[in-house]
């Protein structure tokens, strides 16, 4: 399960992923992004998804997908098995993001990760002035009914990469309908990063 990605988010994946590469999508949902990449970029696609009903939709789109937990789905893969591992709005939903990201960087050349920014100004206002758990278009869930397990900001992620010697090769920030160029941690609803580790 994931929130509806904006077309802008899809665009980032289309821009960054080279044609005819191999892509593993962790938490691929109903396979919308993966099948777009297959169509537009002729990638070799593999998905992992925990939701059974989503698996049926993926198969209907002609995708290969594993009905599995992301947290346990990577250990079998040899190093650098894929050109890309992508985590589209699923990173904040895994139990152990640290292990998943380390594993993702091991099994692929590059990882593309996009997640909702918890420090968006609307979220800050709701928390700061209303004293309520924020609900924004990228974080649309009530506190008691959310698939999200971790709440991170764009700055949190940048700092995290610095601490772990992870190289941020590209980044892109999206607001509601457009990309955000200034103060992304304040104005971006989602952040997307292309990262790698030497």
């Amino acid at each position: 399960m994931r929130s509806e990605p904006t077309p802008l988010e899809h665009k980032v994946f289309l821009d960054w992923i080279r044609p005819a590469t191999s892509v593993l999508d962790l938490g691929c949902g109903d396979g919308e992004l993966l099948s777009l990449l297959v169509r537009e970029k002729k990638i070799k696609a593999q998905g992992i998804e925990i939701d059974e009903q989503a698996i049926y939709k993926c198969v209907a789109r002609g995708l290969s997908v594993f009905h599995q937990d992301i947290d346990n789905g990577l250990s079998e893969y040899a190093d650098k098995s894929f050109d890309y591992v992508i985590l589209n709005q699923s990173f904040q939903q895994v139990k152990k993001p640290d292990i998943v990201l380390t594993e993702a960087l091991r099994v692929s050349e590059k990882v593309i990760i996009s997640f909702p920014n918890f420090a968006h100004y609307r979220a800050r206002v709701q928390l700061c002035f209303k004293g309520r758990t924020p609900i924004t278009s990228s974080l649309p869930y009530e506190w008691h009914d959310t698939p999200n397990l971790h709440f991170l900001s764009i700055l949190d992620f940048v700092q995290y990469c610095k601490n772990r010697n992870i190289t941020i090769e590209k980044s892109s920030f999206a607001g509601r309908n457009r990309s955000v160029k200034i103060f992304p941690n304040l104005f971006a609803l989602t952040g997307a990063f292309l990262i790698s580790k030497k």
């Binding site: 080279r18 044609p19 005819a20 590469t21 002729k42 070799k44 593999q46 059974e52 009903q53 698996i55 049926y56 939709k57 993926c58 198969v59 209907a60 002609g62 995708l63 290969s64 997908v65 594993f66 009905h67 599995q68 079998e76 893969y77 040899a78 098995s81």
Partner: protein, 419 residues
């Protein structure tokens, strides 16, 4: 292992979840699932005539061999639409349609036919009885041409690979060079795994359902109870029973153990609970509960159609099966270009999902493009014969995707561009 043919009453869910996409009649109209291939006949093919007997995995020679098989649909002009269906322990070549004068359809009729998962308007579907069986293909109850008597225990030990080898010869006979897919559940899934490992170039994909790459101690133990029941029957007589009484009690008990393992605690509870059976008592330990009555009737029906020696030979083949022959499983799958669809069922404790995940792990390690789904079901191992809607959806789209894409030579060309 296969359960007896589910009656039409059993088919379909006990409870229908309205949130499931399959509740939607647009997706799989009920009328479509009733479509049938119509009247069919079992045919047979004989090969391995002396002196060209078949060499079995164990080194012994066997011949001549008769294979009983059925086909549904038409082979297309480039012979690229053939699907081989692989049956489980007690199945037969009669997978779909009706034999003349019979009102019971083939064992996987819900999956094979026009508009069904294995759509006979698109695919040429073949199903044959396994080597060692008793439904038309050579097995221990066949007559040994050297002695003029039935083989009994003179029949050589056979393996899953031997069954697959025989199917391979049948395909030669039918003029099929390359299969679009092989598909089977339980022991049929083991044959599908063996196909993948033994003849990877002869198939484009494998559909592997509710099975294991090798049996666990628990699975071997359960089969052993069945075999011991047969061999403890005084009428078994070291397998020499064909002229007289059959070891019916023993075989019935073996079948009862089987049926227990095919159901889940939930499905047994739903079907029988603790309901009592009103059966004018013969003695203190006559049947009290419906579940006992069910097991007895399944056991007694089974002996009418199945050979006890075949049960021994086939369960032994299942227990000794190890597709990678002691090596890590991924070694058996190295370099395979075929795609795989692996299915497991949540309440199946006989072939638990963990065993399907072992297969999936090996597929990942060897780079086989794989789809895996653990279907939510309460039917236990029987689910592979009963969860038709989910299975159909997955199989149908998996096959559709295969037949729409170019052959592997073409695929590599696509992958080569740009890099």
């Amino acid at each position: 292992m296969i359960a007896a043919h589910p009656s039409p009453k059993q088919i379909g869910k006990v409870t229908q979840d309205p949130e499931r996409p399959f509740g939607n009649p647009e997706r799989l109209p009920k009328s479509e699932t009733r479509n049938s291939v119509g009247h069919v006949e079992t045919r047979s093919y004989q090969f391995a005539l002396p002196p060209n007997e078949l060499t079995l995995e164990g080194g012994e020679k066997l011949g001549p061999i008769t294979v009983a098989y059925e086909t549904y649909g038409e082979l297309n002009s480039d012979r690229s639409n053939a699907v081989l269906i692989l049956h489980a322990l007690t199945g037969d070549a009669h997978a779909a349609g009706f034999h003349k004068g019979e009102d019971k359809p083939g064992w996987w009729d819900d999956m094979i036919g026009p508009n069904k998962a294995f759509d006979t308007r698109k695919y040429f579907v073949v199903c044959s009885n396994i080597l060692g069986g008793c439904m038309g293909t050579t097995g221990p109850s066949s007559v040994n041409p050297k002695t003029g008597k039935r083989y009994g225990l003179d029949f050589p030990i056979i393996t899953i690979s031997d069954m697959v080898q025989v199917q391979n010869y049948l395909l030669d006979h039918l003029g099929i060079d390359r299969l679009l897919s092989v598909a089977g559940g339980s022991m049929g899934g083991m044959q599908a795994l063996d196909w993948l490992a033994s003849y990877p170039d002869r198939l484009k994909s494998a559909i592997i359902i509710a099975t294991a790459a090798k049996h666990s101690a628990q699975q071997i133990a359960l089969n052993e109870v069945g075999r011991q029941a047969i061999m403890a029957d005084p009428y078994w007589k070291e397998g020499n029973y064909y002229a007289g009484h059959l070891p019916a009690k023993g075989l019935a008990v073996a079948r009862m153990v089987g049926h227990i393992t095919y159901m889940s605690e939930t499905s047994m509870g739903e079907k029988f609970g603790r309901r009592l059976k009103d059966n004018g008592k013969e003695h203190k330990f006559s049947i009290d509960f419906e579940v006992q009555d069910y097991l007895h009737s399944r056991g007694n029906n089974f002996v009418k159609r199945f050979d006890a020696n075949s049960y021994l030979y086939i369960t032994k083949a299942i227990d000794s099966f190890d597709v990678s022959r002691g090596k890590p499983l991924q070694h058996a799958f190295k370099g395979i270009k075929a795609k795989a669809l692996v299915l497991a069922f949540k309440s199946d404790w006989l072939y638990p999902a963990s065993q399907s995940l072992d297969i999936v792990r090996a597929c990942k390690l060897s780079g086989i493009e794989t789809t895996y789904c653990e279907i939510d079901s309460t039917y236990g191992h029987d689910a592979f014969l009963l969860e038709i809607e989910e299975e159909s959806h997955l199989v149908k789209h998996f096959l559709q995707n295969l037949s729409s894409e170019p052959d592997s030579a073409g695929e590599s060309e696509v992958m080569a561009y740009e890099i």
